[in-house]
Each structure stands twice: as structure tokens, then as C-alpha cells.
């Protein structure tokens, strides 16, 4: 597939004949606008509702109504702060460990030859086939046997294992495409293997590293069942998702609830905005050539 990307494509080779362009361009814009509006409606609804008192919410949920109840956010934050902090810890530990360990593993698979490599690689890749609910029961008992339930380690240690599989797959492909001469010359200059990995390999693969990091944070931040099971009745260790789930069951205060929904979405949205460019290209790079 050595064709030029569309961005630089000449008009001649365009999918739509120039003559009919104007009329036809109306249709895509109309369709896309409808899709964007319907996709965004729940978010707009949530933002509007988060500034309402219950009375305002019951009277109309279509339009914003003054006065705005910013204190909903304060109340929601008071409920969530502990869980928020726990989630930050869990996601940070998980993303750091996963990026370093799976990067190192992918590096080994991509840049060295050793016996049994492909067998081991497929043994790891095979874990992608194992659904989460399969290991939920044994993991539940294992964190109890290992006496981890009193700490957040119960939540993040299994993430450090399961979270590595797909990143190893993604990063190996990336590392294999790097030119080998680069590393040979570094080796001649006396650089150690770890130095080569950290100082040359990882920096060259920033896009895929960011993609992997975003995927891991999204997965761990959003996970609900495992944190719920892992810490048991230990409410102080609830992650923000478990806290939000409990809140939703407890109080029918829609302003407070929707504020909570906004609060727990903000970190992911911010992260996405900053990493968007890399994330989109990283996600699509693997699956295009099929």
C-alpha cells in the first residue's frame, strides 16, 4: 500500500467528481451534524442538569435555568474526593508499571533473537482471549489469600498483569520498525542495553507509549467490578467509580449526581485532549493493514 495519503491528494483522484461537489457536500455535513448532536446530547444534558436544583430539574431539563447551583459541584466533590484520590493512585501506579514493564518486554521481543521467543510471545498474546469474568473469581480469592484487601495494592496489582498484554502487542510492532543501525551505533559507543531502551527506544516511540498510557488510564479509571470486589467492605479504599455507583443508588439528587458524573469524566477528557493526536494515530496504526 504505497499510495499517497489523502491529505496531499490531487483533485483529479478525488472520490467525488468536482462538478457535483457542492451539492454532495451538503449531505455529509447534514448527516455528520445530526450524528454529532445526538452523540453529544447526553453530555450537554449532564452539564445542564449539574447546575440545577432538584426543583429546577423536575420543571425542565431541556434548557439551563437560573440561578445556577454551582454548589452541586462542591457537594459532589465532598462525596467523591477520597475515591478520586484512590483512583488517581490506582491509575498512576498501573500506567507507570504497565508502560515500563510491557515496554521492556516488547523491546525484548522486538530487538533480540533468542530461543523460544515466538512461543512465549504467543503464550502472552493468548491471554487476550481470556475474558475478565473468567479470572474474577480466582483473583478475588487470591487477593484475600495474599492479605492484600487492606490496601489499594489489591486493586492495582492485577492491573499490572492483565494491562500488559495488549501494550506488548502494540509496542512490539513499533519497536520492530525502528532502524537497527541506530542501536548498533549506540552499542559501539558503549551504551548499555537499558540505556539504549530508555534513551533511544522509548523516546522514538512516544506516540505508541502515549496511546498505551491513555488506554491503560481509561481502563483502570473506568473499571468498576474489580475495585468493588477487591477491597470488599473497606469503604475507605473505594475507587471513584464505586463511590459514584453507591451515590447513584443512595440519593435522588440529580444536580449532585450529574455534577459527580462530570467530575469523574473530566480527568479522562483532559487526558484525551492532550494526547488526542497520538492516541488516534496509535490506535489506527495497528488495525489498518488487514
Amino acid at each position: 500500500m504505497a499510495n499517497p495519503p489523502h491529505e496531499t491528494a490531487p483533485m483529479v483522484g478525488s472520490p467525488v467528481p468536482p462538478r457535483r461537489r457542492i451539492r454532495l457536500q451538503f449531505l455529509p455535513h447534514a448527516v455528520l451534524l445530526i450524528l454529532v448532536v445526538t452523540t453529544f446530547y447526553p453530555l450537554v444534558f449532564t452539564l445542564l442538569a449539574s447546575l440545577k436544583s432538584n426543583a429546577q430539574f423536575y420543571s425542565t431539563f431541556w434548557v439551563p435555568t437560573a440561578p445556577f447551583h454551582w454548589e452541586n459541584y462542591l457537594k459532589a466533590w465532598k462525596e467523591l474526593s477520597r475515591g478520586f484520590l484512590n483512583s488517581v493512585v490506582v491509575s498512576s501506579v498501573s500506567v507507570t508499571g504497565v508502560v515500563l514493564m510491557s515496554g521492556l518486554a516488547a523491546w525484548t521481543f522486538a530487538r533480540y533473537r533468542w530461543p523460544g521467543k515466538e512461543v512465549l510471545y504467543y503464550l502472552i498474546l493468548g491471554l487476550m482471549m481470556v475474558p475478565a469474568f473468567l479470572t474474577l473469581v480466582p483473583l478475588y480469592w487470591m487477593v484475600r489469600e495474599l492479605r492484600l484487601t487492606g490496601s489499594l495494592a489489591a486493586v492495582f496489582l492485577p492491573y499490572l498483569a492483565g494491562g500488559q498484554v495488549f501494550p506488548i502487542f502494540l509496542m512490539r510492532a513499533f519497536f520492530e520498525n525502528l532502524p537497527g543501525e541506530l542501536f548498533d551505533s549506540a552499542r559501539l559507543d558503549g551504551a548499555g542495553e537499558i540505556t539504549i531502551f530508555l534513551r533511544i527506544g522509548m523516546p522514538l516511540c512516544v506516540p505508541i507509549v502515549i496511546t498505551v498510557a491513555i488506554m491503560d488510564v481509561m481502563g483502570t479509571w473506568n473499571d468498576f467490578f474489580w475495585p468493588l470486589l477487591a477491597v470488599g467492605q473497606n469503604r475507605d479504599l473505594y475507587t471513584v467509580m464505586v463511590r459514584t455507583f453507591n451515590l447513584t443508588g443512595l440519593m435522588p439528587d440529580y444536580g449532585l449526581l450529574t455534577s459527580a458524573y462530570v467530575i469523574i469524566s473530566v480527568p479522562l477528557i483532559l487526558m484525551f485532549i492532550f494526547g488526542m493526536r497520538y492516541y488516534i494515530s496509535g490506535l489506527t496504526s495497528g488495525a489498518v493493514k488487514m
Binding site: P17, V36, L104, P138, L283, T284, V288, M290
Partner: protein, 310 residues
């Protein structure tokens, strides 16, 4: 790969460092393999072991294949839940094919690349919102009180006071309510991959179809869809596998009810294990599901790799 060094690919003059270097790959893998062994492989083996035991959390007794026998012949919810999963799988296929493909095609058609970029971003952004938040918002949308629930509000405005639908508790409706969640299902991974696939189609092929006088729709049907068949198949597979594995949506929205119309296999495992303490039995259901997923994946890998040619 020609430049990949063999282990310790160094000059003979530095033979002293060679022995250590030979172990580097192994050392690099130690953290990964340690974690995978402890939290992936051992749990996997334990599930298989537990499935042959009566295990309620305190006592453990070997019972051979009794759990499996019970799953297939006595479990009243196993086959119904597989049926529900199949229905979710089929609707999931429709969801992942129709609007994502439409969105990708429309974005691909756009002349102004700036606009194309922003539509793409706008359609992906909502998928970053936590799945649980989406479900909670849709719970509000489905609320039976028209002054809270969006759908009953619209329904009663158009059809009058009697038009209230019990979106999440009427057995005839609830399955479809869960299918509706996330409408129009246009954004996300599938759309991105379809779009990336469309963008790799050589422009000469468009020229050829234009010279042949093909209409836009004909080009879409006879040129573009066949050429991104690989991507389309991938998401069909993922939709089927996802329907067998996902149980967050029914758990949060309905708990599997009403009258088990939204009870999926994953939720059945969860229930039997953590509500009823039948851990050995739940392991057996889980392992059966794993085998079903594996066979489906195997069939699909062969199916996918069968023919993709440009």
C-alpha cells in the same frame, strides 16, 4: 529484521561482557512474566481446578464433572442467557456496522480536511466519557416519571398521558432499551478504523470507478465496502465476543431482569459466584463460556484470514 542482533551482538574484543549480555533479554522479561504468572496464568489454572470442586468460600470438595453436568442440564438460566447474549451479539453487529460506517464514509467524502478532522474528534470525544457515566445518564433518560425521563417526556408529549413506557421493567421492552443505550453508536474505535481503512484505498481505483461512470453509492458498495471488508469483519467478531463477555450494562441497568430478559452469561457467573457463593459452580460456567469464546475466535481467525486481496 536483518539488523536485529543475536544475543550479545557485540564485537569479539568485548567477550568479557558477553556472558552478562546474553541474559539481558531474560532479565527484561522477568517483571512481566512475574506479574503475568501470578495474576493471569495462575488464576486461569485455578478457574479450571475450581470448576471440578464444590467450593463455597469455606469448604472445598472434589466432585468431578458434576458442575458441568449441572450447567448444561439443570441450570435454568444458562441457555436463556446464551440466547440473550446471541441477541445482544446480533444487535451489536448492526450497531457496529451501520452508523460507524456511515460516519466514516461521510467524513471520508468531505473535501475540507479541517472539517473532517473536527468531525472525527467530535465523534470520538464522547467515547472517552466513562462507560458507567453513560449508563447512569441513560438510567435518567429511561426514568418512568415524564418530568425526569427523556423518553417518557417525549412520549407523553406526543401520545398523551397513557403513553408512559416502563423502559427498564417491562419484560417486552427492556432488552431493546439496553440495545438503545449509546444511540447513535457512531463514534469510537470502529469509526476510526473504518475511516483509516477507507483512506488507504488507492486513488487510481476511484478514478477507474469514475471513468466507468459509477454512482457514489455504487462506488461505495462495489469498491469501498469490499476493500475494508477486513476491518468490518474484525468488528463483527468483536461484537459477538463482546456480547458473550460484557455484563456491566445489564448489571448496572437491570440486574438481569425483568424476568431474566437481560440476563447474560457473564452476569450469571457473577451472580452465582458473588451473590450465592457457588464459586466452584460459577467457575464451571465461566470456563464453558471461555471455550465458546475460544471456538468462535478460532473460527473467525480462519474466516478473516481467508481472503483479503487488493
Amino acid at each position: 529484521m536483518a539488523t536485529t542482533p543475536t544475543i550479545g551482538g557485540v564485537s569479539p574484543s568485548r567477550r568479557g561482557g558477553m556472558r552478562l549480555r546474553q541474559f539481558y533479554p531474560v532479565l527484561f522479561l522477568v517483571p512481566t512474566l512475574g506479574f503475568l504468572l501470578l495474576f493471569s496464568y495462575i488464576p486461569f489454572i485455578r478457574v479450571i481446578r475450581d470448576s471440578f470442586y464444590w467450593f463455597n468460600g469455606t469448604t472445598r470438595r472434589f466432585i468431578g464433572l458434576d458442575n458441568y453436568h449441572h450447567v448444561f442440564f439443570r441450570e435454568q438460566l444458562f441457555w436463556p442467557s446464551m440466547w440473550v447474549a446471541l441477541k445482544f451479539g446480533l444487535t451489536g453487529i448492526v450497531k457496529v456496522l451501520v452508523f460507524p460506517l456511515l460516519a466514516a464514509k461521510m467524513i471520508h467524502t468531505l473535501r475540507r480536511k479541517g472539517a473532517a478532522y473536527w468531525y472525527r474528534v467530535l465523534l470520538i470525544l464522547p467515547t472517552v466519557v466513562p462507560g458507567l457515566v453513560t449508563l447512569f445518564i441513560w438510567i435518567i433518560f429511561f426514568h418512568r416519571d415524564p418530568s425526569i425521563g427523556l423518553f417518557n417526556s417525549i412520549g407523553t408529549a406526543i401520545f398523551g398521558k397513557d403513553a408512559i413506557v416502563q423502559w427498564l421493567s417491562d419484560p417486552k421492552v427492556t432488552f431493546w432499551s439496553l440495545v438503545l443505550i449509546g444511540f447513535p453508536w457512531a463514534g469510537g474505535f470502529a469509526m476510526l478504523i473504518y475511516l483509516a481503512g477507507l483512506q488507504t484505498i488507492p486513488l487510481e481505483l476511484y478514478d477507474a470507478s469514475m471513468i466507468d461512470g459509477a454512482s457514489s453509492f455504487r462506488t461505495f458498495r462495489s469498491l469501498e465496502v469490499p476493500l475494508i471488508r477486513g476491518q468490518l469483519k474484525l468488528f463483527v467478531v468483536l461484537a459477538i465476543i463482546g456480547s458473550l463477555q460484557n455484563f456491566t450494562i445489564p448489571y448496572i441497568m437491570t440486574g438481569g431482569g425483568p424476568r431474566f430478559t437481560t440476563m447474560v452469561p457473564g452476569l450469571l457467573v457473577y451472580r452465582r459466584a458473588f451473590s450465592e457463593n457457588l464459586f466452584g459452580y460459577a467457575s464451571a460456567i465461566a470456563f464453558v463460556l471461555f471455550l465458546v469464546t475460544m471456538s468462535l475466535s478460532y473460527l473467525n481467525i480462519r474466516f478473516i484470514q481467508s481472503k483479503v486481496e487488493y
